[in-house]
């Protein structure tokens, strides 16, 4: 599903050039659950942004769904993204002006799905995430755990092939974090590919494989026996 060849990402600001990713060669297959770990500033979020088609690599190849997309325009990436990828952020990134229901509905609106269909899909996912009773609340009125459940609902409502989660439990207590991890595991078992950035060794236990990054390099990859290629 994802394949990078000698991929690099360099940030140039006025003063300095930062090499955030350096000759990264990673392959992620469908239905995998991958955790990315590493110290702060080693390039985890950068990698996730490239995977999520939010940013282009500076050079090297990046294949997504068998397409070489590293030179895609913003518009092409947006189209590919909205149909295939869901995001879960550490800080939830819900829109404060929208209700729970509307936040979850948003990706469907951009996909141009009919109102009837949308209603069914949103209700479905909200029920599944046990947050249906809060559908008319605004994000600020919810606890952190509830907000993350809404964010996950939004990420999965359009049934994406790939979910990218950047420290999804970082702002949650352990009980709520556990719950989010269970949801992600369940989604993975249903066939969704998941790439998750985490600092927590405990969370990484849920993944099939852990990629360790250090200073923009892939250091090690540990496979667990749970998943065999």
């Amino acid at each position: 599903m994802i394949k990078t060849v000698n991929m690099r990402k360099i940030y140039t600001t006025e003063e300095v050039e930062t090499t955030a990713l350096n000759s990264v060669n990673i392959e992620i297959n469908e239905k995998e659950f991958v955790a990315i770990m590493g110290p702060s500033g080693c390039g985890k979020s950068t990698l996730l942004n490239v995977f999520g088609l939010l940013d282009n690599p500076t050079d090297g190849e990046f294949h997504f769904l068998e397409q070489e997309v590293s030179k895609y325009s913003e518009r092409q990436r947006a189209n590919l993204r909205k149909a295939n990828i869901g995001f879960v952020f550490q800080s939830f990134n819900l829109i404060d002006e929208l209700t729970v229901y509307e936040n979850v509905e948003l990706p469907l609106l951009y996909l141009g799905i009919s109102s009837n269909e949308r209603n069914k899909m949103v209700t479905n996912v909200l029920e599944r995430m046990q947050i249906m009773h809060r559908k008319d609340h605004f994000p600020q009125q919810l606890s952190g755990g509830q907000q993350q459940r809404v964010a996950v609902s939004r990420a999965v409502v359009a049934k994406p092939k790939l979910i990218l989660a950047d420290e999804p439990t970082g702002n949650l207590d352990s009980a709520n974090g556990e719950e989010v991890m269970n949801i992600l595991t369940q989604l993975n078992e249903e066939g969704t590919t998941i790439v998750m950035v985490t600092h927590s060794p405990h969370d990484s236990e849920f993944a099939h494989r852990i990629i360790h990054l250090f200073d923009g390099h892939v250091v090690t990859e540990n496979y667990k026996e749970k998943f065999h290629v």
Binding site: A78, I95, E97, L98, L109
Partner: protein, 800 residues
């Protein structure tokens, strides 16, 4: 999708109440100003539109260039109109009118003084559109001693009786028969009438004078006829008709006279242009000026711009807070166009609310604005088919203009950066500062304009005129006293509060006539145009006009009826050495007048004019005015004393008077009004600009909360922080001054050129305006700065 957009838009407006409030109020005030000014301008542009033939009606005016200058008069010789119709087939019809300022009219036991009285040819209704309620326009003014009245006037005289064929008596006792009733005079006409009497009643209408300009002549051209072609034929016509009379008077042929550089001519001006473009001598009423239409339109556009800029600035500043929303939407697949639509929709909705509020504001302000502008303005939104569509169009246009920059700015955010929490607002900040500079430049220009206009008006009102206009009560229609004028005057002077009194035909500030004079020994073609004033012995004493040399008229010298007094300007122009004892004569007359004295120059016209050469003559007949100098003590008693004496002398004639200084300030009425409107709109402009600044400062303070927290934790004092936050805006206002000063100087210098007597533009005016803007800006900004500076740093630091 759209429903979702609208829902979010409404929620956003509700959530950011302060933001929405500032924008809606600012824009509403802006739009209300524009609507008011638009009503004002449209009203000015609608003059004469009620005339069916308005496009083909022209007024003929005359011009003369002789020694002493050139002048253009709205009046023309008596035979001109009829001659034009006879000589030129393209002239379809003509009519002449002549006002008489005060006409005393009696019906049964009632006597009224009619001030809007005109003599008019029977063809009046072929030229102007006046609807008859009773009577026949074809015949109403055919016979001598007939009149037509407006509806209201007929009601005043006859109540519910039928006015037709009723007889009313003019002051000299002549009976006039009412032959028609017409609708009341429309407001938007360059002259206002209540009553017309037939031209056939007065002899001068039949006079064959070609060198005396007496009547206002209007003509209607046939369809398709060109006024310029017609005008080109006038010089020949003048030569043909006025030439012989010129030769008789001066002994010189028209051609020779013209060769000397003199000129006498007739010209056309379209009826539609009179109200805004005509500023001739002897206008029936003071006209407005296209200049003010332009000035006010520009102000309106500026105010709207200021309000739109507020919107742009606030929305962009707020983008910091909305950047997350933009980022998330983009991550979820929204494209730029969808975001732009979202933001435009919000701005259009804001505009919609603003315009609704603006309509309410206009309704509330209209009576006051009508008062201020001296116009009768009506909004009458729903009388007009175009109102609703044009309102919708305005909402869209203003909404899109105001919303476009924020929409494009916000939608261009890169989602990755935004979600990282990077501040993106810096990018737009120079643009925002530029807009603030622009707003304040305009405000400062308006301030400077207001100050200079105000100073100039003050200056001309307080200027030394060379005579004393204070505590001078002027009795109008002094001729009503007939031959009791002298005894009336003596009776008044018995009261110790009455200092002086004079009988005169002319007064400073009133229309006067000009006559051609010829100094003794000069060649017959050497003619000088001099203003004339006819008055009695006590004139200069009453008005406190100073003698420069010689003496004024005196009863001791019976020969003074053949004497003249000149002002210093006249001596200069006539170029007479040792003028006392020299002689002058009216052109074309053999009677010569001896110069007995010279008065110091005094301003007998508005200060738009420099002082013209003047001849004072002794008035022997009845007089129009009786100026009475009264003591500054017991003014009201003096007035009632004069009134009672008048009642005693002429019990059934109305007593009418004015104070000379009041009448003199009326000369500056149009400037006065402009000044008031100008002041009102500059205050509004700065109000809207400050409102925007207020919002902007709020956002800046909020955006920098964390920075302020850190600085305070590191030991910055409150005043350090206030300085930090105010610096940016102070810079803007200072730059605005640099832009505003030269622009304001240029425009105000031009405006002042209309005055022969004017103030020097002082640097202090500019400094004052600049400081005022700065103070207002600082006050607005500091409020937020103080709030931000006082906040506990722990709070803001924990925030991230």
């Amino acid at each position: 999708m759209l429903k979702n957009n609208i829902r979010i838009a409404i929620r956003n407006l509700r959530k950011y109440k302060a933001f929405s409030f500032i924008n809606i109020i600012g824009l509403a005030v802006g739009v209300a100003c524009v609507v008011l000014i638009l009503l004002y301008v449209l009203d000015d542009l609608s003059y004469e539109n009620f005339n069916r033939n308005a496009g083909r009606i022209y007024r003929v005016y005359s011009s003369a260039r002789i020694e002493g200058g050139e002048m253009k008069m709205a009046v023309t010789p008596p035979p001109l109109g009829a001659t034009l119709v006879r000589e030129f087939p393209e002239v379809k019809q003509y009519t002449r009118v002549m006002p008489t300022a005060n006409m005393l009219i009696r019906y049964k036991n009632n006597v009224f003084n009619e001030t809007r009285f005109f003599w008019a040819d029977s063809t009046l209704f072929d030229v102007f559109t006046m609807s008859f309620i009773k009577g026949n326009p074809r015949t109403a003014l055919n016979e001598p001693h007939t009149v037509i009245l407006t509806e209201s006037l007929a009601k005043k005289y006859f109540g519910n009786e039928d006015p037709i064929d009723q007889v009313m008596n003019f002051e000299d006792g002549t009976p006039y028969t009412v032959k028609g009733v017409i609708k009341d005079c429309p407001v938007n006409s360059h002259f206002h009438y209540d009553m017309f009497a037939s031209m056939a009643s007065i002899d001068v209408s039949k006079a064959n004078f070609w060198l005396n300009d007496i009547f206002y002549t209007y003509i209607v051209l046939k369809k398709g006829a060109s006024p310029t072609v017609l005008e080109a034929k006038f010089p020949e016509l003048i030569k043909k008709y006025a030439g012989p009379q010129l030769y008789q008077a001066l002994g010189i042929t028209m051609d020779d006279w013209r060769k000397k550089g003199y000129a006498y001519g007739m010209h056309l001006q379209s009826l539609n242009s009179i109200h805004l473009y005509s500023h001739l001598e002897n206008e029936m009423e003071p006209n407005s000026d296209i200049k003010y239409v332009y000035i006010f339109s520009v102000i309106a556009i500026f105010i709207l711009l200021i309000a739109c800029i507020n919107f742009m600035n606030l929305a962009t500043a707020r983008s910091v807070m909305r950047s997350k929303e933009v980022g998330v939407r983009k991550v979820l697949g929204s494209n730029r166009a969808q975001l732009i639509i979202q933001f435009l929709l919000e701005s259009i909705m804001l505009t919609f609310f603003s315009i609704m509020l603006a309509i309410v504001l206009v309704e509330i302000c209209l009576p006051y604005f009508s008062d201020l502008s001296g116009k009768q303005l009506h909004s009458a939104y729903f009388n007009n088919l175009f109102t609703i569509p044009s309102l919708i169009l305005t909402v869209l246009i203003v909404g899109i203009i105001a919303g476009s920059y924020p929409a494009f700015f916000l939608s261009s955010f890169r989602p990755v950066k935004v979600l990282k929490g990077k501040a993106i607002a810096e990018k737009g900040s120079w643009f925002r500062s530029g807009l603030v500079v622009f707003q304040f430049s305009i405000s400062i220009i308006l301030f400077i304009g207001t100050f200079i206009i105000d100073n100039q008006l003050n200056y001309i009102q307080k200027a030394k005129l060379g005579f004393n206009k204070e505590q001078v009560l002027v009795v109008k229609r002094a001729w009503a006293l007939e031959n009791h004028a002298q005894t009336f005057k003596e009776a008044l002077l018995k009261n110790h509060n009455i200092i002086n009194a004079s009988c005169t035909n002319d007064l400073p500030g009133q229309i006067y006539s000009q006559t051609l004079f010829k100094p003794e020994n000069a060649s017959s073609s050497q003619q000088y145009l001099l203003a004339t004033m006819f008055s009695d012995y006590d004139f200069i004493k009453t008005l406190d006009i100073k003698l420069a040399s010689g003496r004024y008229f005196s009863k001791k010298y019976p020969s003074d009826s053949l004497a003249v007094v000149l002002n210093q300007k006249a001596v200069q122009m006539l170029d007479i050495k040792d003028p006392i004892g020299k002689r002058l004569s009216f052109s074309g007359s053999n009677i010569s007048y001896q110069i007995i004295g010279i008065v110091k120059d005094f301003n007998f016209e508005s200060l738009h004019q420099s002082i013209r050469p003047l001849v004072l003559l002794l008035n022997r007949g009845q007089s129009s005015y009786m100026p009475i100098k009264i003591s500054s003590k017991n003014i009201s008693e003096s007035v009632s004393f004069i009134k009672n004496e008048w009642k005693r002398f002429v019990p059934n004639k109305p007593f009418e008077y004015f104070f000379l200084d009041d009448e003199f300030s009326k000369l500056y009425l149009s400037e006065q009004k402009t000044s008031e409107i100008f002041t009102a709109f500059s205050v509004l402009a700065i109000f809207i600009a400050s409102l925007g600044l207020f919002g902007l400062a709020a956002f800046t303070a909020e955006r920098r909360t964390k920075e302020i927290g850190i600085r305070k934790a590191l030991g910055a004092s409150i005043s350090n922080i206030i300085l930090l936050l105010s610096k940016e805006f102070t810079k803007c206002v200072l730059i605005a001054n640099v832009i505003a000063w030269p622009v304001a100087y240029y425009f105000m210098n031009n405006w002042l050129k209309d005055f022969a007597y004017r103030i020097h533009i002082s640097l202090w005016t500019f400094i004052l305006a600049g400081c005022l803007a700065l103070i207002i800006a600082l006050l607005t900004v500091t409020l937020h700065a103080i709030k931000a500076a006082m906040a506990n740093p722990i709070k803001s630091l924990r925030y991230e």
